[in-house]
Symmetry: C2
Subunit: 122 residues, 2 copies
């Protein structure tokens, strides 16, 4: 039932989640800025996510995560935080690099490895 989602869509989902927390409402333009893509790219991605029931987006309006989208976004962001924290606090990496790497690794890590990282930090 939980349809698989691409790494790209995970990025969009996460960006929306973070923007919503920071600024309240989320527009196509904001996402484009954060993800460093053009607005048409965001439009297309959001449309796809809407079909998958992850966001709600009335035309020309702001974008809101559905319950399901929210759950997924939080899960992705949770992975992100764990990975970043590990890189920063355990490996002692520069926060910017830790952030960058977390962004990419978060899409490709198994629950087991994630649990391993977490265990390690306690």
């Amino acid at each position: 039932m939980t349809r698989k989602i691409t790494a790209n869509m995970e990025d969009y989902l996460e960006a929306i989640h973070v923007l919503a927390q920071d600024r309240g409402n989320v527009r196509v333009k904001d996402i484009a800025q954060v993800l460093n893509v053009t607005m048409p790219s965001v439009s297309g991605a959001v449309k796809k996510m809407e079909k998958q029931g992850l966001v709600s987006h009335p035309k020309y309006d702001t974008i809101v995560l559905t319950a399901r989208g929210s759950v997924m976004a939080e899960e992705i962001y949770r992975r992100h935080r764990i990975i970043k924290s590990f890189l920063e606090n355990v490996l002692g990496l520069d926060p910017d690099i830790a952030e960058q790497d977390a962004c990419r690794i978060e899409h490709n890590i198994s629950p087991e490895t994630l649990a391993g990282l977490k265990r390690f930090m306690e």
Copy 2:
């Protein structure tokens, strides 16, 4: 000069490298088997890699890495081994899972993080 390469091409390069070490000569079929794709997919990928000067591949013949391809493949495989070793020996993960995760993470990790992992294991 070192043209950037996609994660997918890295997989192909690595597979060829490993196959060459294991069995000596490498055929389209072998790569297809290892990467779990069809032969036409391999044909296309190999053609692209040939254009980039990474492999040599006479029609209907075996595939051989060029010097440049070899250097890149070894570098990728080195990353792979470090990551796998970390997951297995430091985090104590199952070797199969460590292998799987290494395969995916190796394409998305910065030199800094890699160095961090390595440092950690000494």
